[in-house]
Structures are given as C-alpha cells and as structure tokens.
Symmetry: C2
C-alpha cells in the first residue's frame, strides 16, 4: 500500500504515521484508492522547526519576493487547473463546471493575485513614523501561521491556497496548512504547485508546508505550541470551540469562522405580488451547493399572512422539483439528518423533504420547515442552531414586537438580509429592526441573498461570536484579512540602519502610504 | 455612615450594596474616612441596561458631538485639577508634584484631546467603498465597553479618564468604568467632571457610568454578559487571566495588559567606561514611582566581567542611597515581599534591600538581586515572574549562546531595550539577538530605558502574551488604540439613505480619508 507524502521543509517526504485514511466520492459513496497519512507528533515537530526558521528568513526578504511567489502560484494553479478541478470534483461531488472551474478556481487565483498586489504595495502595514521622538511602528508578521481549511470550498478556502493562506503569506508569514481530510488529493495537487512556485521564487524552504491530518490531541497541541504565532480555522462550531480553548489557554490569536444561519427578513411590502420571484431567489440561494455555504440562508423571517403562505408554497414547490446536490460526506448527511430532527423536536413543522434520498452517494431531500414567532421564542436556542446543508426554516412573525424579541435573542451571524418594498411602506419597520439586526451580523444586505461573497476590499466575511471569534476581523477582503496575521511592532529610538526598510526616513517603494508625523503621505 | 454614590444612567445615586470599603493613604497607612459601596448585581444590571440604550443613541450622533464631550471633559479636569491631584496623591502616595500635577494630569487631558481629534477626523474608521458592487464597510462601535483601570496610574489609566476610556468613547462607545478600589475618591471626582461634560455636550445619559467595586463573581458575570461588546483590563496577571477566561468562554473581545519584566540588555561595548552613567539611568528608571510602572525594568541582562560588576556596584550604591517611595497598598507590599522571596528561592542572590522599611506607610527597601545566566536557565519560569515594585534583577551572561538560550525562553513583554556601543563593536551580537528579542516584545528600544511611554501615534504599548492578550493591539497611541473598540461592519447593496454618513457617496467631513475603489482619497 502506497501512502501519499507530506510537504515538510520544502520537500515531499514520507509521513511518520501509523494510520492512514482515504477520501470518498460523495456523489457515489465510492472510496477512492489513495491512502493519506495521519501524521504523528514527530511530523508536527518537524513542520514547526522548519516554519520557525522560514519565519526568521522571511522577515529579511523584500515583500516583492513574497508577491512574486503568490503571483507565480496563481499562474501555476491555472496551468494545472484541469487536474485540480477533476480531483476536487471527485472528492467533493461539486460540479467541475461551472462551480469549480469557472467560479471557485478563478476566485482562488484572484485572491492570490490581490494578496500579491497588497504585499507589493505595503500600505496595509500602516507604517507610522513619529520623527521628532524617533518612534516608529508597523504591522509585522505574527507567524508562523497554522491554517485549518474547511470542507466546503476545496480551492478558495483550502488551507494551502485559500483566503487565509493568501492573507497569511502576503502578510509575510510561513504557513503550516492542515488539509481537510475530505479532499486530500486536491490539497496535494495544490501543495505541489505551491512548493514549485516557492522554489522558483526562492522562498525559504519552510514557508509552505502541508499535513493531511493529525490526531485531535496533536491538533490542540499544535494550536497551543509557542512557536505558532496565530491560527486560522474555518469549520464547525464544535471543532472550532475545542481548538479555541487551546488557543485561549495559550493566549494565542486565533481567528475562527464557525457557524451562521444568515437570517433573511422579508418585510411585508417586499413580498406582495413578488412571492414567486422571491421564492426562486431564496431557493437558488438555499440550494446552491446543497446549502453548504457559510452564508447559506437557514432562517427566513416573514410576516404571517397570505404572502407568507404564498412564499412558503412556492419555495416548497421548488424544493420538491429540484434534484438535490450531493452532500460533502456521510458525516455531513448524518448531521443534517440529526439537525432537521432536532429542529422538529424543538417545535418546527416539516413542509418539504426531511429524509435521505436512497440513491448512490450522500443526498438529502431539499428540506423546508416552518415555525411561528412564538414557537421560535419558546425554543430559540434549539431553533437557531446551524443545520449545514439543504434545509431552511421559515418563521412567520405576528408583529413588530415579536420581531424585535426574536432579533434580541439572535446569536451573532455572518450576514443578515432585509428585503423591503420600494415605496417607503416598510421604512418604519426597517428603522426599528435594522439596529437590532446590525449588532448581530458582520454584513447587512438589502434586497439580496447573502450567498456569493465578493472578494472586495470593503467585504466583511466575519461577524459577532459565535459566527467568528472577533467581530473586528474579516477572512475575505484584501488587505483587511491580512491584518489578522500581524503584530504591531514598535521601534523606539532605534538606530536608522537597524530599522526595517519600511520604517526608515526614506522609502524606496513610491506606492506605500505611511503616516509621518500625523499626515498620510507616500513617495 | 455615609456611603459615596455611584454614577448610573447619568445621575449619582445610592448603590445597592451590603458592604463598603475605604481607601488608605499608603504613605502613612492611615485609613481614609469615606465609605464606598461594593455594588451588588442590581447595580450592574442597571448600568448594563442604560449602556445598551446609550449605545444605540450614540450610533446616531455625529462624531463631532463625541469629540466635543472629550474636549469639554479635558477642560473640566484641568479646572478641577487641584482637588483631583490632592485626592490622587492622598490615595496613592504619589507626589502631587511633579508626578501627578505636571506629568500625569497633562498626559490624561492630552490623551482625551488627541482622542477628540481622532473622533473628529474620522479617518481611523477606515471607510472602504466598493462603488461598482455597492459594498461598503467601516469600523463601527463595538460597545458598550467595560473598562477595568489599574492601581498605578490614578488619572492616565483610570477607567473613567484614562487611555482605554478615551479610546472607547472616541470610537463611539458607551463605557462602564470599574474604579480601582485603591483610589475611589480620585475616580469619583473624575466621574463628576465626566458626568457634567456629558450633560453639557448632550451625550446620552448612559454613555459614562462608574461603579467603585463589585464582587469577583459579578466581575466575571459582567465580562461575560452579552450586552457588553468588549472589555479592557490593566492589572495583575492573576486577575487578568481569571477575567480573560470568562471573556473567552463568551467569545468576547477582551484586551488585557497584564505583566511585563521589560528586559534591558547591555551589550559589552555599551558599558565600558559608562558604568556609572548607565547605573544612574537604570536606577532612575527602576525606582521611578517605586517601580510601579508597567514598563519598569525588572530584568537586566549583561555580559559577565568587570563592567558588569562595576554596574552592579554602582546600582547597589544608588539603591542604598535613595529613599524608597511608598508602594500603592499593603497588598502590594506583601506581594513584593513574596516576589523577592520567590526570586531568592529560585536561585537569585540579594545584593541590596530585601526587607520592609518599618516606617509609617507601605515601603520596601530598594532591592537589587543577581543571578548567572546558568541560574536563570535552570529556573527561567520562576526568575522571569514579574515582581511589581522597586526590585530589579541583574543576570550576568557568559556568552552569546547562553544569551540566545535565555531569550528563547523569555515570555512576551511590553518592551525590550538594547544598549550597544557607538562604534560597531557590538553590532555582530546585536544582529544575532535582535531577532530573538523582537519576537518577544511590543516595543524595541535602543540605548534608552523603557519607562516614559509617549502618547504617540507610532507607540506600541502592548506585546505578546502574557504581556497582553493580542500582539496586534496597543493601549496607548491614538488612533491605533481606538481600533480595539470597533467592529468591522459591512453594508452590501444597502440603499443610500440607509447608510451611515461616512459610507455615503459624498461625505461632509473634508478631512476624512476613505478608500474608494482601491484609492485612498479625502474630501
């Protein structure tokens, strides 16, 4: 039996492991043949030592070199797109086209190139010079950074190629990527390109390393290890909170993106006469990738009455009619099943779906539930638990006070959407509920669904706990996402020749904004 | 018995409490007459409700109003300076002049005015506009904010007037200040001025509130309460870590400044012929305010040999000769005593001091200890514990490798200083140890002592754990310190009239820098 190698200190080598795992094609349930190692601590130790050396060397490199790596890597991913997309599609059940080839892969390379550009420009470092006092500071690398990628975006959030990776590298950090065990071959292929791009551009050998899997205990130990400067995690709330405790205990910055039900609110005037159109818009958003997006709308709040019933009916019809996409794993299917059962147990009524589809692969019927505002208020904890997959609940609300009570009990979320009419009839309600919703979400939307997170400098893909661990940071959007992986370093009275280049009186890079004695200037 | 009132919802009122406490004059040990309440949870509950309402109203106010409050408050503190300084001197034993009147009070009003200016300018909000996609974001208030002030700066770090307060208010937050129980009257006098300034400038009534004391349990409950958006704490490591656990459990941003021994390193060439001058510089820094500064140098690293001995001898002489300032409290004296005993128990040798001074008040002899590098390495945990007060340890190091081993084991600190000769003889050692020290400190200094933290935009008064809880933030330096109290809020497709003023296409404030479609512009 051959076992895939891991990427440590710049080269592919056999893992120190006693167990292996295989990936599965979730569209068929068929187990794929390659074995991947579950690394023992010895591998983690090697990765840590190498990352520390790389981190020291990275500090001495001009940012241009890091940018060159990110650009070269993006180009290489494009050249190897066919095999990467094929592997990702096989391991995730996501369609090769358009999803992986035409949407997610370009998003991935776009992120890497935006990160390269930000690294080249250097303004994100917020260099501050107080010349009369000779005090100077900037955002310096915090790393090495440990990245745990999620199951649902094998390319754009992959620990070795996604947004966290791009941000951490662009901020000048070495990265140890922990692959998601549902798509090891995809991760291996990406890591191959990363390694070659790193060699081509002469980065330190330990800049980019990758392990497929570690034990839970070793995961906690890695997070708490003093050699790791910061950790990024995207995944389930249970796993996230377990790792967060280890980070908190060690006093370590950890950025988590954990769970979100992304409330979508239809104010009364928005629905009348538009029930069918909005039902389609909603169903498209809920069912995309079988609902396995972080921003998938799981909770729909709507005024009770005729329009609400029409919306429910139209959504149910679409849910019935559309063929469910495969879920990412058997465990995901089981969790979805248990989640729907728990919503029903807490008082929700099943309108559509609610059972497995006994076909090859892991599929669950598109599932629609409903509850009243009163029912929601009576069991708000249970009824706002994220159920990851193609299940959505509509809550019919009696009046504005009930609405306010629901929003007051709502946990932190990544997004919240409000649909309202175009003629001002909903404005009074909007003004009452917007402040309540605003506090609970990172991104507030008007008249649109939350899925489809633009890679924009103005994006906030984050929000209050438990959606993430800190509402001041975002995991999508450059350069903001890079600031997560920086420490504020101050030089006080340090001799000119000993300062980092960006803090010296004169700067070579004409594009870098710096604050000098209180004024932002460049050149 | 009359008990001082607390400041809740804009007015002074009797506390709901069953116990009280009194302050003490640490210079005499005499108990001061006024009683201050230990609030029960009912007071916390009232403060929380009021803060939530204020926070909602603050969002609607133009930043100019918040700036007006901060300026008015600074002016009022100056007008009431005589009584504030007298109370602070009585409660802390710190000299009224120059320390309190001429240094700390001007620093406090200066911070408030700098915060006012940043609030007025609004660039700190980092407004980002992506016009083609209509996605916009900015740093919005995260509050209400709970501030725990420390014992050692009754004005400049006071929960109701210090750096955390100024930053939290300037960022648009309501503040609940928890006074330090060692200086309740000072805090009451400051809160009086804050209340009047808030009335004058028409801030919501719950913007500024103050409790003198709560039980430990209620402190933890306050930190974890979902109505609190963020917490700032400056104080001891034990208290900080206890509160941090409550914040971590609730997923709440908490900024702690806890402990730091502020290593000062003399490279060989820096000492030769300058032993006496540097001994004075060092002693001045160590003994200022009886060593009760966060940045007081507690660990001095020096090459073993003749110069080290000369330095030790000169420092010991000064330590003997100078009259010790009073410590802030009996508890502080006891902790200092225990701390010195524990350093001795871990292998340090006593060179000077090491006992209480049996005079009125809480005084401890200026204390100098020494250890070898080998001894330090054998007990590095115990020998790098912060001992708060006028005690300092010199470690004599045999060679560069021993030096590197010590720095590798060093915990996170606020500052680290390196003295080196002016002719390049120390440069090789500097280049070897600087990267190791840099990782462990927020502020790196050359040829100067760490005490005297300038209120500069380029300051980093922070550093890696356990000095603080996140190396990316600073508690001194405006506007950077304000970012701790902000959440990144995004508006996606939100109609123009519903956007916060700073995110609309046109902006009234001509001074605000915004990033529009990737370019920083203003006006």
């Amino acid at each position: 039996m051959e076992t895939a190698p891991i990427l440590i200190d710049g080269r592919w080598r056999e893992a120190k492991s006693e167990s292996t795992f295989q990936a599965t094609n979730p569209a068929t349930g068929e187990r794929l043949s390659t074995h991947y190692p579950v690394s023992e601590w010895a591998d983690c130790e090697d990765a840590l030592s190498s990352a520390v050396i790389a981190q020291k060397q990275l500090r001495e490199l001009p940012s241009e070199r890091i940018a060159a790596f990110l650009s070269a890597y993006a180009g290489r991913i494009e050249s190897a797109a066919a095999s990467i997309v094929a592997a990702a599609s096989l391991e995730t059940g996501l369609p090769a086209t358009p999803r992986l080839r035409d949407v997610e892969l370009p998003r991935t390379t776009n992120q890497l190139r935006q990160a390269a550009e930000a690294a080249r420009e250097e303004s994100w470092k917020q260099a501050m010079l107080d010349l009369p006092r000779n005090i100077r500071s900037f955002l310096a690398p915090i790393g090495p950074v440990l990245v745990f990628g999620p199951n649902n975006f094998p390319l754009a959030f992959n620990g070795i190629s996604g947004g966290d990776f791009a941000a951490a590298i662009a901020a000048g950090n070495a990265v140890i990527a922990k692959a998601h065990p549902l798509h090891p071959e995809t991760t291996r292929l990406l890591a191959e390109q990363a390694q070659m791009a790193a060699i081509e551009t002469g980065l330190p050998t330990g800049t980019v390393q990758m392990l497929y899997a570690v034990s839970n205990d070793d995961g906690l130990r890695l997070v708490g290890d003093p050699r790791i400067g910061a950790v990024a995690f995207t995944g389930s709330r249970a796993a996230g909170l377990r790792l967060k405790r280890a980070a908190d205990e060690a006093g370590k910055p950890m950025y988590l993106e954990m769970s979100s039900i992304n409330p979508v609110i239809f104010l009364p005037g928005s629905l009348v006469g538009s029930e069918d159109r909005l039902a389609r818009e909603l169903a498209d958003s809920c069912l995309a990738a079988a609902g396995q997006f972080c921003t998938s709308p799981n909770l729909i709040l709507v005024w009770e009455g005729r329009s609400a019933e029409a919306l429910l009916e139209a959504v149910a019809a679409i849910f019935h009619e559309r063929t469910p996409q495969p879920l990412l794993s058997l465990a995901g299917l089981q969790q979805l099943e248990a989640g729907v059962a728990s919503l029903i147990g807490a008082g929700a009524q099943l309108i559509a779906g609610g059972q497995r589809i006994e076909e090859p692969g892991y599929r669950y019927a598109n599932t629609l539930l409903r509850a009243t505002g009163k029912e929601f208020l009576a069991a708000s904890d249970a009824l706002q638990r994220e159920v990851f997959g193609n299940a959505t609940m509509v809550v019919t609300v009696a009046d504005v006070s009930e609405f306010e009570a629901i929003l007051a009990l709502m946990e932190g979320n990544l997004t919240g959407s409000i649909y309202s009419d175009g003629f001002g009839a909903d404005d009074e309600i909007y003004d009452r509920i917007e402040p309540l919703l605003r506090r609970k979400v990172g991104r507030l939307l008007n008249d649109k669904m939350p899925t489809g997170v633009a890679v924009s400098a103005a994006m906030q893909h984050g929000g209050p706990f438990p959606a993430t661990s800190h509402p001041g940071f975002t995991s999508v959007g450059i350069p903001a996402s890079m600031k997560r992986f920086a420490a504020l370093e101050c030089y006080d009275g340090v001799r000119e020749g000993r300062l980092p280049a960006i803090l010296r009186d004169a700067i070579a890079n004409p594009r870098t904004w710096r604050s000098i004695d209180g004024a932002w200037v460049r050149g």
